[in-house]
Amino acid sequence: MTNNPDRLRQNSTDPYAGERLKLSYFHERQAPLNLRDAWSAWNGFKFADYYYDTDYEYFCIRNTCGTYDICPMQKYIIDGPDALAMLDRMVTRDLTKLGVNRVTYCGWCNDSGRLIDDGTIFRLSDEKFMLTCGSPCIAWLRKSSLGFSNLEITEATEDFAALSLQGPTSFATLKAMGLGEVEQLKPFNLIHLPFQDGEIMISRTGFTGDLGYELWVEPRLALPMWDALYEAGANYGIQPYGEAATNMARLEAGFLMPYMEFNEALKTVNFEYDQTPLELGLGWLVDFKKPHFNGRRALLRQKNEGLKVKLLKLDIEGNKVAEEAILYNDEKQSREIGYVTSAMWSPAVKANIAFAMVDAKAANGEIWAEIYYQRELRQQMKMARCTIKDKPFWVHPRARQTPPSLT
């Protein structure tokens, strides 16, 4: 497939065509549903913050199902005899253990062990992998492939129309669509099924912590897939959701968001204003049994020396959202010990939750958040006591259950 940069833009006679946001393969269907015209942008694509109402969309994810457009997500195909070795050296996880038709979540670091980005790697065949991530990483992939002569890296973002389908009725919807074979699909597995005159790739993956799938087709099948999905999902409460609802669901599920929990290392200007996976609580992604991977030496040093800061999950008293709050060691604000990276009132958990980057030493003592909020335009401040949570805020057995339930 050719990578024509304009092919997703509206009109080639438009003198500003190159300046305008690209339109997703699903735009024709999504635009009329964006009742609020709440558009922002992701990787140069016009992208919905929300369609109708953030809370409503969030409740669809948790109670029925919703679709989230992942066309703008970056996709790369790494293909060839050296592909496994190249990726395995790049990421902190042991990829040699990843079977064909399996997907894994992983992160990759610069030489200093600072996290460049996280993403998922799909093993499509013995020698063929797909890497997906939030922001462009072709330059890093190319740098990482220096010395591996036997592989090809393809920027494949626009070669796929991809949609994330998340929520308790997502399986029921797929089944009604005639894709009932996903019944046996376990989390992080993928399957190829016939769809119309082509094929649909379905992975049991997502960013909500709920039961959910990601659907991948060639662009020409984008609208047919949408239509079939929405027809099948009509009785299962299907609804498109945007960035805002995603952000709620992922925080409840304990997933990190680039530019909130961490700065991408290659784009960070100030020294150590980026983060290592160990600081981010992603130690389980770092496999020191591998003799060599990028950043290993630095991460091992950090592991041995101990962390200076670490990301914590906090349950905060009261119901005032602790967005951007600074954290202290006591109510009197004697010493600053960290800051909140993301925060929300969680409807599913009925709790005031947050991620926070905290001085590792202070994590054993009291943690207080300085929360600002408004009451009829008047600024108010309160100090709220925080409790550390070890587990994700929200976990539900249906997320992992196979075969999945229909509701």
Partner: protein, 514 residues
């Protein structure tokens, strides 16, 4: 089978020195050299029946300290104390002789200026000298302790006095041209004085960078920057180094190219485990010290996959294009140069600095310069055994000759360059062309292929500010240790750089033993 602690890759002078010092400290060392001859870029080869010449023809940077430390006198090496004049040849004017303190053949005013110029440079060179024999501190955001070396330099600079120190900071990064312009009028004199700041680099008189530092580092040798040729030839230095190595217990294997550094690994991380030879043989050792250039060492012998990503990309970007070609002539008798009793110096064929600049202009666009500049010596006047009785060897460094030219080097292109060079020689020494029994011209590409050095680069990697000191060849490998436990560097690509000085080899040995 013998067990070894340490494998040294490359038997240039740095590899030999490093091997000897490690063996003397009790390590069991084997040195593997790809070529038949030891000496690397300083090896002497027979280029025509009965005629021998080393690629590196003169000595200036070799510290007495290293000669003494290795007791090379006991291995047949005697340094020469007879310096070669630097002679500025000019087509239309008389040659100018530049000696340690005086200038002959130029206007009186030039001689006075030269006194000032030399005393300034000597002050600076003396302050910097300790630096070339020290391991540089690592660039680190935390450790202030490792900055002691810089503290030392700071003190050295301070003791020059405030005025000299400020002057040092003013001139350190000047283009050579601007520096000599401040002092001299004669065009050919200025060009000749530029030469030692430029030769071996990809810098020309107008290039701002570190040419002045190159001059200063070259002045750190025994004769304040003047060159000598050992009376037994350069080969006597290399054979003394070989003999010292053998006496220390080093096992030397020539014609033994290494094709891979073996890097093992387990849950404790990586570890060097030996080398694989081109003949398929494996030699195990937990320490490998490479005097091959950094690009060869990391990208070809270790391979990028075993290294980290940003590191390998920095190595890939190292600038290693060499621009010096070597001309060796077998002459049937001694040529007569205009205005010289005897061509017994180091002669630069530039009428003016622009000859160098224009030659560089062509070279940087991949063209052979119209009028390349040569640094000529006739080593057979100083050393015995280089040519049959009564005959002579002329050896010239030719600047700036690109390793890659548009369309690639062909026999015809080389012949064309050779004819140009001989025509230039004829201008300065009429009739020289009739004395030529054989001519050998090595382009940087030839040097790369014959001596296994990336780009055929004199210094293995350009000695520009971004690739110097604690950045040489790049950070994380600038203290001779590398990111791979057990792998070290000890060649010209490491601090302080190329020239026959032995500093890199000796500093590496000290770093390994400390």
């Amino acid at each position: 089978m013998t067990q070894h602690d340490t494998i040294i890759i490359g038997g240039g002078h740095n590899g030999l020195i490093c091997a000897t010092l490690l063996a003397r400290a009790g390590q069991r060392v084997v040195l593997l050299e790809a070529n038949r001859n030891l000496g690397g870029l300083a090896a002497t080869r027979e280029f025509f029946s009965g005629f021998n010449a080393p690629l590196a023809s003169t000595l200036y940077a070799m510290p007495e300290k290293i000669v003494a430390e290795l007791q090379l006198d006991q291995h047949g090496y005697t340094p020469s104390s007879q310096t070669l004049d630097l002679i500025a040849l000019s087509r239309n004017e008389n040659p100018i002789h530049i000696k340690a303190d005086t200038i002959g053949g130029a206007e009186v005013g030039e001689s006075t200026s030269y006194g000032d110029y030399q005393s300034m440079l000597r002050t600076f060179a003396k302050a910097l000298a300790p630096f070339w024999s020290k391991t540089m501190p690592a660039i680190s955001d935390r450790k202030l302790s490792s900055l002691a070396t810089f503290g030392h330099l700071g003190i050295k600079l301070r003791t020059m006095g405030r005025a000299d120190m400020l002057e040092f900071f003013r001139v350190a990064m000047l283009p050579m041209r601007d520096l000599v312009d401040e002092y001299f009028k004669s065009e050919s004199l200025r060009a000749a004085l530029c030469w030692d700041g430029l030769v071996g680099t990809s810098m020309a008189p107008r290039s701002p960078n570190q040419s002045v530092i190159t001059v200063l580092s070259r002045m750190a040798g025994s004769h304040g920057g003047l060159h000598t040729i050992p009376s037994q030839g350069m080969s006597s230095l290399i054979s003394a180094l070989e003999s010292a190595a053998i006496a220390a217990g080093v096992e030397i294997r020539t014609e033994t190219p290494v094709s891979k550094v073996i890097v093992g690994g387990d849950e404790h991380g990586q570890q060097v485990d030996g080398v694989l030879l081109a003949n398929g043989e494996t030699i195990r050792a937990s320490r490998v010290v490479s005097s091959a250039d950094p690009k060869t060492t990391f990208l070809n012998l270790v391979g990028a996959p075993a290294l980290e990503i940003e590191f390998t990309n920095r190595i890939r970007r190292l600038r290693t294009k060499g621009y010096v070609a070597k001309l060796n002539l077998a002459l049937s008798s001694l040529p007569k140069f205009k205005g010289l009793d005897e061509p017994n110096g180091r002669m630069i064929t530039a009428d003016k600095m622009d000859d160098l600049e224009f030659a560089w202009d062509s070279a940087k666009y991949g063209e052979i310069p119209e009028t390349p500049v040569m640094e000529i010596v006739i080593p057979s006047l100083r050393a015995r055994g280089l040519a049959p009785e009564g005959k002579h060897v002329l050896s010239a460094n030719v600047m700036y000759i690109p390793g890659q030219i548009s369309g690639g080097w062909t026999a015809a292109k080389k012949q064309e360059l050779l004819s140009r060079l001989i025509a230039i020689l004829d201008l300065h020494a009429p009739g020289l062309s009739t004395l030529v029994e054989h001519a050998e011209l090595l382009t940087p590409e030839d040097i790369q292929n014959e001596f296994n050095v990336s780009g055929g680069h004199w210094h293995h990697a350009e000695p520009s500010v971004d690739q110097l000191l604690m950045m040489r060849p790049t950070y994380e490998a600038a203290q001779y240790a590398t990111p791979i436990p057990g792998l070290y560097l000890c060649g010209a690509g490491s601090h302080p750089g190329g020239d026959i000085s032995g500093n890199a080899g000796r500093n590496a040995a000290k770093a390994i033993l400390s």
